[in-house]
């Protein structure tokens, strides 16, 4: 079974560190090394290193407006300054989300698009089918490894290895000399902490991984810690808050949509706006340490089902369960009170504002 799963160039390095490997969207990935909670704390307090090589990277060579990229992505691409990154979405014509992504503007007519691992093939066809010419887009996922260094000390650690990296602003990137190669390093991440993402050739990944771990402030962290970090920040995850069947308006992502341009799915979104949304996203804090779980039901009282938990986890910073969910806008909630669980066993929670974790080092 596991033989058919994809492996990143760091697979052996994870095994050598004693990682627990799991199937994640068709990839054999480390869920934890020494323990999820200690890896989580390392990222919140010092610096944690993640292997994110499974994610997909495409290169678009062309004019974003006349060659059609602008019509495929919801954020405005043509106004992006060179060296900047922007979060956006690709929609289908029913306004469901094909994927969420980050666009990097490398030059006037060259862009890199970073997409979710499980969606690489689907996203690539979507782009090829909707761009003016299929040859404008190239899939470089297999030629690209990605290491994320995240945490309040990430800048201090990285500037010793990659001089000049300390001048990068949030959601900006540049090319740097790393181990004799020119590589993109961006100041992006999905943890709520100051952090960097390093794109490199698969052959260099192991050497870079080892070099970063040589700094005693850095420890490797797996997907388990990453899921807590992103949920505490209330960041959406494809397959949870966003899917082919959930509109970005339902998912609370309207700030990543530019309505001043034409794009696939726009007409449906405008109709949805006009007729009113039927679902809305909520963030809730369990009254106890019990965690909501993806797929559980949400109730407005002891019996009436009003929605579903899209993500749920134990928050170490709040020492309580936290959850994200989609509920019907017609729900008649008693103040901020909500229940999660199943018919037999329900737990109470309170609806709160996002993010759950507010003390991150992201803005420093």
């Amino acid at each position: 079974m596991q033989a058919s799963l994809y492996r990143t160039p760091l697979y052996q390095a994870h095994c050598d560190l004693g990682a627990r490997m799991v199937d994640f969207g068709g990839w054999l990935m480390p869920v934890q090394y020494e323990g999820i909670l200690s890896e989580y704390s390392r990222c919140r307090e010092q610096a944690a290193l993640f292997d994110i090589s499974h994610m997909g990277e495409f290169i678009f060579d062309g004019n974003p407006v006349s060659d059609g990229l602008e019509k495929i992505i919801t954020c405005e691409v043509s106004s992006m300054p060179i060296g900047s990154s922007r979060y956006g979405l690709m929609l289908n014509d029913r306004a469901g989300v094909v994927d969420d992504l980050i666009v990097f503007r490398i030059s006037e007519k060259r862009f890199m698009i970073v997409v979710n691992a499980a969606n690489i093939a689907k996203d690539f066809s979507h782009l090829k089918n909707n761009l003016l010419a299929p040859s404008l887009i190239t899939d470089i996922s297999e030629k690209t490894a990605k290491l994320d260094l995240q945490g309040p000390l990430s800048r201090e650690v990285l500037k010793n290895i990659i001089p000049g990296v300390e001048s990068l602003d949030y959601f900006h990137f540049n090319c740097f000399d790393i181990l004799g190669e020119k590589n993109i390093v961006s100041r992006t991440g999905y943890t709520g902490e100051l952090g960097y993402e390093i794109f490199c050739a698969p052959e260099k990944a192991q050497a870079l991984w080892k070099k970063l771990l040589d700094d005693e402030r850095v420890r490797p962290a797996g997907l388990g810690a990453r899921d807590i970090l992103r949920t505490e920040m209330a960041y959406s995850l494809y397959g949870h808050e966003i899917t082919d069947d959930i509109s970005p308006l339902d998912a609370g992502l309207s700030r990543f949509i530019c309505f001043d341009k034409e794009f696939i799915g726009k007409d449906t979104l405008l109709q949805q706006k006009q007729s009113g949304l039927k679902r809305k996203i909520i963030y809730f804090l369990s009254d106890t340490r019990r965690s909501p779980r993806h797929g559980q039901s949400l109730y407005e009282n002891d019996s009436k089902e009003i929605g579903i938990v899209t993500s749920g986890i134990f928050s170490p910073s709040l020492e309580k369960g936290i959850g994200i969910g989609l509920i019907s806008v017609d729900s008649e909630l008693d103040g901020d009170k909500i229940f999660f669980g199943d018919k037999k066993n329900k737990s109470s929670a309170a609806i709160v504002k996002r993010p759950f974790y507010k003390k991150g080092s992201l803005k420093t």
Binding site: I36, G224, T288, S291, F314, G321
Partner: protein, 129 residues
């Protein structure tokens, strides 16, 4: 309590330690290790009657929820309240500080349905194969 070599075990990785006329119960090393960081435990109610091999508590770790089955029938006479605020004791000291409940056994003959430490070690070896 003694040490884990004197305890008896279930196939679901619970342990029981008989002390005078009472039985301490908890989860074995294998279970805490498989669950990973434990973040929540639902303890049984004191005075509740429990049946051997039936669910009497549940635990949640960062990634999963799991049921815990009573290794012996009887009445709950005490629960380890410390676990409510510090469920991580189940990871740190599953055979001592992380005991879950103290049971007054109703049928001591049920011991014959449990495994000795040696039997349990052999059982675990079979699982790893």
């Amino acid at each position: 309590m003694g040490n884990e070599e004197e305890y008896l075990y279930t196939k679901d990785h619970e342990w029981v330690c008989f002390e005078e006329s009472c039985a301490f119960v908890g989860i074995a090393e294998y279970a805490q290790n498989a669950l990973g960081d434990i973040t929540f435990i639902e303890l049984p109610e004191p005075d509740a009657e429990v049946e051997q091999f039936e669910q009497f508590a549940s635990v949640e770790s960062v990634k999963a929820a799991s049921e815990i089955f009573a290794p012996i029938s009887g009445k709950i006479i005490e629960v380890n309240q410390e676990l409510s605020s510090a469920p991580e004791l189940l990871n740190k000291s599953c055979y001592q500080k992380g005991w879950i409940a103290k049971i007054d056994p109703s049928d001591i003959d049920e011991k014959s349905n449990l495994m000795t430490f040696e039997d349990y070690e052999n059982f675990l070896e079979g699982l790893d194969r």
